[in-house]
């Protein structure tokens, strides 16, 4: 369903935008396979630490949330933070 695709991009965008100082620089691209979707998150270089977090904790939390969202639709979502 197209709605699903948009919804997961929206999820990553809205989390990232809430975390960073420059929300206008947030963009999410997706690369889709059959069961797997890679979400590529790009933020302003100065905001990288905000989406990764101390010891990668924030990125880990986003991945946990994507994991749960994926379980609901039997898909696997992978988050890549572009540097």
């Amino acid at each position: 369903m197209a709605a699903n695709r948009d919804s997961i991009v929206e999820l990553v965008e809205l989390i990232a935008k809430a975390l960073v100082d420059k929300p206008e620089e947030v963009s999410v691209r997706t690369v889709s396979g059959d069961q797997v979707r890679v979400l590529e998150l790009q933020v302003d270089p100065s905001d990288l630490g905000k989406v990764i977090g101390k010891k990668g904790r924030t990125a880990k939390s986003i991945r946990a949330l994507l994991g749960a969202a994926g379980m609901k639709v039997r898909k696997r979502y992978t988050l890549e933070i572009l540097e």
């Binding site: 919804s7 989390i15 880990k60 939390s61 949330l65 994991g67 749960a68 969202a69 609901k72």
Partner: protein, 170 residues
Amino acid sequence: MSREAWAQEEIAKKLDRFLGPVLSAARLSLDYELHEGRDDGKFINPDITVSFDGDDIELLLAQKGELLLALEQLTLEALHVPHEDRYRIIFDARDYRLLRIEELRMSAEKAAEMVKRTGMAYSFNPMTSRERRILHLALRDDPEVYTTSEGIPPHRHTVVRLAKESGRTN
């Protein structure tokens, strides 16, 4: 709650602006309610509990509450809650976290008893700062022992020692 920023309505508004859209974009069937914490005199309970319910509650609590903790962490970051204030908000479902707090308090008391009996230091397993804080607070009024946290995360752990061992009394 001393400061204006901690007014429940204010937090509720900020929470709704973030958590509502996140839950719906993730297609999670979860609702939440805000409860003001009760003060039990031990200063451990948070000011605000965000308690979840709904069809996806099992998913929320799976793998030691991984999703619950992830939502809490992301929300605290998104709301820009300063680190020293983080313990004031807790996300919970079916009293999962509340029971963990009780468990930690009881472990702290047991450890203190053992230290007093044997005179030997007791080391807890590595824990998050939030959990270590509960251990420290649970024993801070006991003059016979003192607690420290040692090591570097994720191996940082709390140690209970006999107060007279080093002449310290806190």
